[in-house]
């Protein structure tokens, strides 16, 4: 469970998080909706440690993450994706996924020099797992392709696959459906559901309300860095005040 209490952040006069309280529960999918500039991605950036918060606390399964850097939070089991994919263009599809394994031991220079057997077994199991995940996202034949050879929707799926390699306890998905169409749409829904069913707390920022409606157990509405409402997606959509905030009329 990820617990956020009183999280605040401003850049000069612009408040991106205003005393945010939020709980993401194990095995549940929480949608985070709101207009552009509401602070949804900023909240992910604060929780994942990309930006330091001005105040408040974040705890994962009771352990505080405050003051920890981005990589330290990921090591504790907090995985995220990015709005603009941010895959590694110089790596193949399979290597983009393998590198998502958070406690992979083979990347230390010391281990490289003196721990060959440890590296071999870690590399084999990471590759096997990455291939399994590739099959789960419906891209079993894409392993050796370059990232640039994949359509954008499939790149989004690889971004999620990379996050899955983390074995995270909490997964933050930033606009996973932006630019995704057709088969990739259904695959994304199935993959996210499976992840949540395995006991991971999932939070999804998404402008595609239909996707949120179909996928999420509940949602919160953000506006100007504040949580305005929490409930089922149907309830939030039906709320005329929130609709006005969302569309500005």
């Amino acid at each position: 469970m990820l617990e956020i209490k009183g999280l605040s952040k401003s850049f000069g006069g612009i408040v991106v998080a205003d005393n945010v309280d939020l709980v993401m529960r194990q095995g549940r999918i929480l949608g985070l909706i709101g207009p552009n500039g509401a602070g949804k991605t900023s909240l992910f950036n604060l929780v994942s440690g990309l930006y330091p918060a001005n105040g408040g606390t974040v705890a994962l399964d009771g352990s505080p993450l405050d003051g920890l850097a981005l990589h330290e939070r990921a090591r504790r089991g907090l995985a995220r994706t990015w709005q603009h994919v941010r895959l590694f263009p110089s790596l193949s599809v399979i290597d983009n996924i393998i590198i998502g394994a958070r406690l992979y031991p083979a990347e230390s220079l010391v281990t490289l020099m003196f721990g060959r057997s440890k590296i071999r077994s870690a590399a084999e199991s990471a590759r096997k797992r990455a291939l399994d995940i590739l099959a789960r996202i419906g891209l079993p034949d894409a392993a050796d392709k370059s990232i640039g050879d994949l359509p954008y929707g499939q790149q989004k799926l690889v971004g999620v696959a990379r996050a899955l390699m983390n074995d995270a306890r909490c997964l933050l998905l930033d606009e996973p459906m932006a630019g995704v169409e057709g088969q990739a749409y259904e695959t994304m829904q199935r993959v996210v559901r499976d992840v949540a069913a395995s006991g991971v707390a999932v939070c999804v920022v998404e402008h595609n309300v239909a996707f949120i409606h179909d996928l999420c157990d509940e949602a919160v509405f953000m506006f100007q860095g504040r949580i305005m409402a929490r409930g089922s997606v149907a309830e939030l959509i039906a709320n005329p005040e929130l609709t006005e905030l969302y569309f500005g009329h």
Partner: protein
């Protein structure tokens, strides 16, 4: 013949320097211009320990490598805590500061440098043995760089270079990867310096000035960044071709500028004909044994 041996040794040392610099700037994407001073630190440390303290030369060489490695960590650690850009600033300060320090300390011989450095291998086995040592060392360094570049560590370096934040969000500490890479490259430069000192037996601070980093960088860029063999080609061509005209027996007043012009001319020609480097890197990182190139 001695002259040819000296040229071969210098080419070998520049292969080591260019390959280790490629590790830092090519694979790691870290901008530093302090490579000459780590070369110099290896040379001075090994020379002084062997000459003044009588340390066996293999141990002196090892100490030279350690000195360059430790000081590179001391320099890079605070700079890389902030950002990669600070490494460039720190490297300029370190390069210039250390040169001034060497020039002004008594035990380093000041501006006169260190002479009478004990020779290694040559008195017992002849110059050919030292040539063989340098060639083996150069091949060893190139193979080490290739091995690292295509290992899991190399994959991590590629990812870090592509997108440091996305890399960190996967639980990777980019700072330590950068520091370890910088230390490894600088330590190898120190090794080259120690090999230089025990063959030429005289070192002075002028040999490790900041302009040398431009020479090494040119070798890496002309040869091909992010390829194990590019810096080898760059170092061999740009070090040996200007030296070849010494056989024309021209007066020194003409020879020096002509060598400079030849170096510059070669760079311009290569950059025009092969802007991506003489040996071009593949677009996608490949692991050892993947059988799909990617050097």
């Amino acid at each position: 013949m001695d002259y040819i041996y000296s040229v071969i040794i210098l080419v070998g040392l520049f292969v080591i320097l260019a390959s280790s610099f490629n590790l830092i700037i090519g694979y790691g994407g870290l901008i530093s211009i302090a490579h000459p001073i780590f070369y110099g630190l290896g040379a001075y440390t090994s020379a002084l320990l062997a000459r003044d303290l009588g340390l066996p030369i293999p141990l002196s060489i090892l100490a030279g490598v350690l000195m360059a490695t430790v000081l590179s960590i001391a320099m890079a650690l605070p700079a890389l805590r902030i950002s990669g850009d600070y490494l460039l600033i720190a490297s300029i300060g370190f390069q210039l500061g250390m040169i001034e320090l060497i020039k002004n300390l008594r035990f380093t011989g000041g501006a006169s440098g260190v002479s009478g450095i004990p020779a290694f291998l040559v008195p017992t086995f002849g110059r050919e043995a030292y040539v063989a040592l340098v060639i083996v060392a150069a091949i060893g360094v190139v193979l080490l760089v290739r091995w690292i570049a295509h290992s899991d560590y190399g994959r991590a370096i590629s990812a870090m270079r592509d997108d440091e934040q996305a890399f960190a969000a996967l639980g990777r500490d980019a700072k330590w990867i950068k520091v370890s890479l910088f230390a490894l490259g600088s330590g190898i430069a120190g090794f080259a310096g120690a090999l230089y000192a025990h063959y030429f037996r005289f070192v002075t601070s002028e040999q490790f000035e900041i302009l040398m980093s431009a020479t090494i960088l040119t070798m890496v860029v002309v040869g091909g960044l992010k390829t194990p063999w590019g810096p080898v080609v760059g170092a061999i061509l740009l070090q040996s071709l200007p030296q070849a005209i010494t056989f024309l027996n021209l007066p020194p007043v003409i020879l020096g500028p002509l060598q400079g012009l030849l170096f510059t001319g070669l760079v311009l020609i290569f950059m025009f004909l092969r802007p991506g480097g003489l040996v071009q890197a593949g677009n996608t990182w490949r692991a050892h044994g993947s059988g799909r190139g990617g050097d």
